[in-house]
Symmetry: C2
Subunit: 184 residues, 2 copies
């Protein structure tokens, strides 16, 4: 029943902004499936990242309350961070869990990888659920933001999600997918 | 128990890329909560958008199978589109539902608004669940992509979500939040 659908072709690409690892913008010329050509299609490249919903051995969820430049006020946040060059997403997730909370986890569940902008690319977000987290060392949070570590019950997490307290798209996604996984 | 957290201040901003409504990039100088100053902080502005999980009167879910420039192959997709200047998000959602599927809905549930990039901004995604959708006119899909309209049962939708068949972050988010709402 599905007909064949052809993806668009990139005819040319030119870099027009270069902030190093943080942001590259390219100008693409694109050929559509029907032969039409679109000029000046902006293409964004930002670093791929991970987010982790972390459940401890005591069945509590590790979250932060923190500021971010793009957020008004504070937001609840899961563990998260950017992939280093050459690093695979699970390794990043395990590294960030250890750095941000001092914990390791007994079980890692993949919740999928998703492109951020369907038209302009941006980044891929890799989402995980970590279970059986327990502290093995002190935290070494070196992020620029102020951060407060919280332990939420499942009911508190669910209420915070429904109230929109995770204000960033990927943060809400990882919490929703993690809670759905745990309910099944 | 929560301490006061101060947001960062924008000391200056300079536009460095202008693709009109599709993309603006600015270069910000930012002052952190502790007085440190960061130069060359890239800031992205892309258009705000809506996504809608649509349940019909027959309790089926309206989805598309389609291509997108940033996606390999095809993806399942919900109803979606960009806000026109001055348009509020619910109006956009209702307009896109009508244009893309020829339907109106009896009930609209807000699933929250989320910033796409916590550090660089990008866009705000406004997510909705529409219930009691029923066709009132023909479709007028004028998107550039090829698109096939599908009707999925709740079990099929849940399986597709778990299998990662919604390949774009906001698409997975609206489906997950919508399904969670319907289960409660």
């Amino acid at each position: 029943m599905s007909k064949k659908m052809d993806s668009w072709k990139t005819l040319s690409r030119q870099k027009i902004v270069d902030f190093g690892k943080w942001l590259t913008v390219e100008n693409h010329t694109v050929e559509l499936h029907d032969g039409r050509v679109i000029e000046n299609w902006p293409w964004i490249i930002t670093p791929d990242y991970i987010n982790v919903l972390v459940e401890t051995d005591e069945k509590k969820f590790l979250c932060f309350r923190q500021t971010k430049y793009a957020i008004d006020g504070t937001s609840l946040a899961p563990v998260g961070g950017y992939l280093e060059p050459g690093e695979d997403a699970l390794t990043t997730a395990q590294r960030e869990l250890l750095e941000e909370t001092g914990c390791v986890a007994r079980e890692w569940i993949t919740l999928g990888s998703y492109i951020v902008d369907a038209n302009r690319g941006a980044a891929t977000g890799h989402l995980f659920l970590a279970r059986g987290a327990h502290r093995v060392q002190e935290r070494h949070a070196d992020d620029l933001e102020e951060q407060e570590l919280l332990l939420l019950s499942r009911a508190e997490l669910q209420a915070a999600l429904a109230a929109g307290e995770f204000k960033v798209l990927a943060w809400t996604t990882v919490v929703a997918l993690g809670l759905m996984y745990l309910k099944d």
